[in-house]
């Protein structure tokens, strides 16, 4: 068994991202050995049941909305709860933050990406998907700055290209990939 290049994968998305996130998650090997953290802006009409919906689509027991101080465990898919920012602490626990929205978003992808990068450094893989705002761009900058890897969904494959575009604009060194390319990338990097 070879070692994972990454210790955590985090995926940020907004409008038009849920379908793509599902494609990526479905492609993961059954017993992947790292935690996966989803930060997805929820449209007002898709309310609190998103974790159940994702679990059902993926055919797994649960997608966990972490609570404060919950230990981060490998092999679990986490989804940031509505109305809180999701952060990670040194020592690998989650913590929550109920401060004002950032760029009109709570959870904010920037806040989570930055805090994950600060703890997991070069072992971070962050993936930014479709969306109609600019969240995630600064966060990816931080991931790269800490030596981690940043992937952005190619704007032409995104239902809403604004978010990927904003991230590409300020981060010249991101990998720009179609969902299929990212699936391929993940299969090469994630071992079980």
């Amino acid at each position: 068994m070879e070692k994972n290049k990454f210790d955590i994968i985090t995926i940020g998305g907004s409008a038009g991202s849920i379908g793509v996130a599902l494609i990526l998650l479905k492609s993961l090997p059954e017993h992947f050995q790292i935690p996966i953290v989803l930060i997805i802006h929820r449209m007002k009409n898709i309310t609190s049941q998103l974790n159940k919906l994702l679990a059902k689509e993926l055919g797994i027991k649960e997608v966990v909305e972490p609570e404060d101080k919950e230990p981060i465990r490998a092999g679990i898919i986490y989804l940031a709860a509505q109305n809180y920012h999701l952060l990670v602490e040194q020592g690998n626990t989650f913590s929550l933050d109920y401060s004002e929205p950032v760029n009109f978003s709570r959870p904010s992808i920037d806040v989570s990406f930055e805090s994950i990068a600060r703890v997991y450094k070069h072992k971070t893989l962050a993936i930014l998907l479709s969306g109609a705002n600019k969240d995630g761009a600064a966060g990816l900058g931080r991931v790269i700055g800490e030596g981690g890897t940043a992937i952005v969904q190619s704007p032409e494959t995104a239902e809403y290209p604004a978010m990927p575009k904003a991230a590409i604009d300020i981060n010249p060194s991101v990998l720009i990939q179609s969902p299929e390319q990212t699936v391929h990338y993940l299969l090469n990097q994630i071992t079980t």
């Binding site: 909305e65 972490p66 609570e67 404060d68 101080k69 919950e70 230990p71 709860a81 809180y84 920012h85 952060l87 990670v88 602490e89 040194q90 626990t93 913590s95 929550l96 933050d97 109920y98 401060s99 004002e100 806040v111 930055e114 805090s115 600060r118 703890v119 600064a138 900058g141 931080r142 700055g145 300020i170």
Partner: protein, 275 residues
């Protein structure tokens, strides 16, 4: 652009040490990820380019420290926030509290009072307000001053009214406040049983015994060690079979007191002392 790069964790620790010595506030057990964000935001707002700049300003100006306190204590709050929580208070907690001749309540980390006013309204509707003695505390004097005035911004009143109705409220919400220009004042009678005072959960101790303690969205800013201290403090401040309520994403599951409480309503985080 990357605002988090100006102040690093080591520099943060030095600033916190200085604040403890200079002002007596100890933030060393606040969660680092969140605190680092707040402090960097504050550095930006005060045009402090380096940690040294910021430290210098904080050391030499008490008014700047007060603003700093305002920033790091995250004061966001709402009337009837999380209607489901208030609904289960109505159904599961108030009927029990009704059996006490004097009902003692503590809101720890009450911010500008919205949570307290919501409780007052519910106690009033249950006919319990006159028997209630409500202590509402916070670390931040500016919050307490606002809370004492009973004034809340009018901007979100529509949302608050919806929250109230969702929580099972049956009255005309507008009867509980009077609107003036851009703000509303909660009726004085509703606030008559409340005492607002300063209490720091980091350093202050038990000051009374309560049948109900609410501490919502406050301990998420504390590390595990400080959470455990505060939870022990709450346990010691509760009378037997007393209630403790937390924010929706908080839990006793990872704490030292987890075996001392029953979770009587899982999703709304209402706990009750076992003994």
């Amino acid at each position: 652009m990357d605002e988090n790069n100006s102040i690093h964790i080591k520099e943060l620790d030095e600033i916190l040490q200085m604040l403890l010595h200079r002002y007596g506030y100890d933030f060393s057990n606040y969660t680092k990820a969140s605190l680092l964000r707040r402090v960097n935001r504050f550095a930006k707002e005060t045009d402090s380019a380096t940690a040294y700049d910021l430290k210098y300003k904080l050391l030499n100006s008490e008014p700047i420290f007060q603003l700093f306190l305002q920033e790091v204590t995250v004061n966001v709050t709402e009337l009837f926030r999380d209607p489901a929580y208030y609904k289960s208070l109505r159904e599961k907690v108030l009927p029990v509290l009704a059996s006490y001749p004097i009902i003692k309540i503590w809101h720890a980390g009450c911010s500008t009072g919205e949570e307290v006013f919501s409780m007052c309204i519910m106690l009033h509707e249950a006919g319990l307000l006159k028997r209630a003695r409500i202590y509402a505390t916070d670390i931040n004097p500016a919050n307490l001053e606002k809370a004492r005035s009973g004034i809340i911004p009018l901007a979100h009143m529509k949302e608050y009214t919806t929250n109230y109705l969702k929580s099972g409220g049956k009255n005309d919400f507008a009867d509980y406040y009077s609107a003036r220009y851009d703000h509303a004042i909660i009726n004085e009678e509703l606030r008559s049983q409340v005492i607002f005072s300063q209490h720091n959960l980091v350093s202050d101790n038990v000051f009374n015994e309560f049948q109900f303690i609410s501490c919502r969205n406050v301990m998420i800013y504390f590390d595990k060690q400080l959470q455990d201290r505060v939870l022990q403090l709450f346990y010691d401040s509760l009378s037997s079979l007393g209630f403790l309520t937390l924010g929706l994403k908080e839990t006793l599951l990872f704490s030292v007191v987890k075996d001392k409480f029953n979770n009587i309503h899982k999703t709304t985080k209402i706990y009750r002392r076992k003994d």
